[in-house]
Symmetry: C2
Subunit: 231 residues, 2 copies
Amino acid sequence: MKVACSDCHLRELCLPVGLSDGEMQRLEALINSKRVYAAGDYLYRTGDRFRSLHAIHSGSFKTRVLHDDGREQVTGFLMPGEIIGLDAICTEFHTCEALAMESSEVCELPFSRLEELSRDIPSLQRHLHKIMSREIVRDQGIMLLLGSMRAEERLAAFLLNLSQRNVAHGMSATRLTLRMSRLEIGSYLGLKLETVSRALSHFQGDGLIQVKARSVELLDLARLRVMVGKS
Amino acid sequence: MKVACSDCHLRELCLPVGLSDGEMQRLEALINSKRVYAAGDYLYRTGDRFRSLHAIHSGSFKTRVLHDDGREQVTGFLMPGEIIGLDAICTEFHTCEALAMESSEVCELPFSRLEELSRDIPSLQRHLHKIMSREIVRDQGIMLLLGSMRAEERLAAFLLNLSQRNVAHGMSATRLTLRMSRLEIGSYLGLKLETVSRALSHFQGDGLIQVKARSVELLDLARLRVMVGKS
DNA sequence: TGTCCATCTTGATATATGTCAAAATACGCC
DNA sequence: GGCGTATTTTGACATATATCAAGATGGACA
């Protein structure tokens, strides 16, 4: 049976599409069974040949691009239900690298078979396009953040984004567990780790949040939103 | 005859795909004829309903996202042969706005018909995916630039990018005509216009470039590349 | 051709964030 | 449970870039 992974793709690939039972089965048939990655394991590296997209089933990954001189830029933190690897379709080689931030499970989606299937199933085709477009919109949001927001605004936006995605996974809007270090947050937000740390402390001093190592409680969502929207 | 726009999409949509004559004709049939936009005209605005992608035939556009408080972030400068509007597939509403920077011609590509056709023509399907993926890669490059490069590195990267695209259009690698103001460059690069101006002056003082208003000559491509790669 | 307005340059100064350094805290491992 | 290492916090200081303010330049248009 190839239904090993039947719930891994549900969130992202099936549920929103409204496929018939038969179509569902064809999609499931395409999906290779889950693979487990330990914290620090690479899902792929820059320059790796592209064959498959991956749907995160559990755990979390970060993606990053590396500069020649060693500088790195974290380009995303990925959570369950999200699709990873879209950057590589363009050249058939990965242009960034993805690594697990904790023990994680992933489903492999061979891309050429996904393309075949989406030729037969228009709603799947449309959904695939939407996933790619959503990634473009997400990236543009980060460009806005990096290009025109100040340190504390960026951090507020980051916390609210985590909160939102927590909610999307049926978890608390206010209790966050950071899976990443201050250094990684800084890289993602274009800040130094000390700046991230100071901003968190400042937020705490203002009663906006409660920080305890990597668990953060958002005490005043409304004010955080004001910071991001129109500060 | 619906071949009004037969060369507009060639660069981006047909040439690289290797379609048969018949497939070509079907693609051409789909394309609405060219429309002209004057400098400052909107191709679309944030919130507009999405129906079509657009292929730029001549001229140039900028895209930008607006913040609630009026801040803007320029997210791209688009040249002939490039496809605009991919952000809107995701929600069926545009999440940014696009406006002409000079008098420009554009071909409309109704998206649902493009999807239909790409179900029939696998190489077109693949090409559409590549275009979307390329946009994701481009955006990640800008994230790297905004998140981890300094002002002069950003500007060098910007100039080299323009140079490259000039070459792709059969134009000079070293003689650039900027279509955008220092203010717009600054917005794109996450800098203030004064910083852009100073950096240009500094480059000129160093013998890297020759600036005269909006025409720039790149005098030392190699050193510009070093700045971006491993400064 | 000359005037006007937008754009651009340049200088002086302010400020946000980076850098360097040390101490404090948290966490994995024995 | 305690030790050692990695991470985080905090402080003092440095610096890149922003801000404010004149002028200078260039292009559109009469």
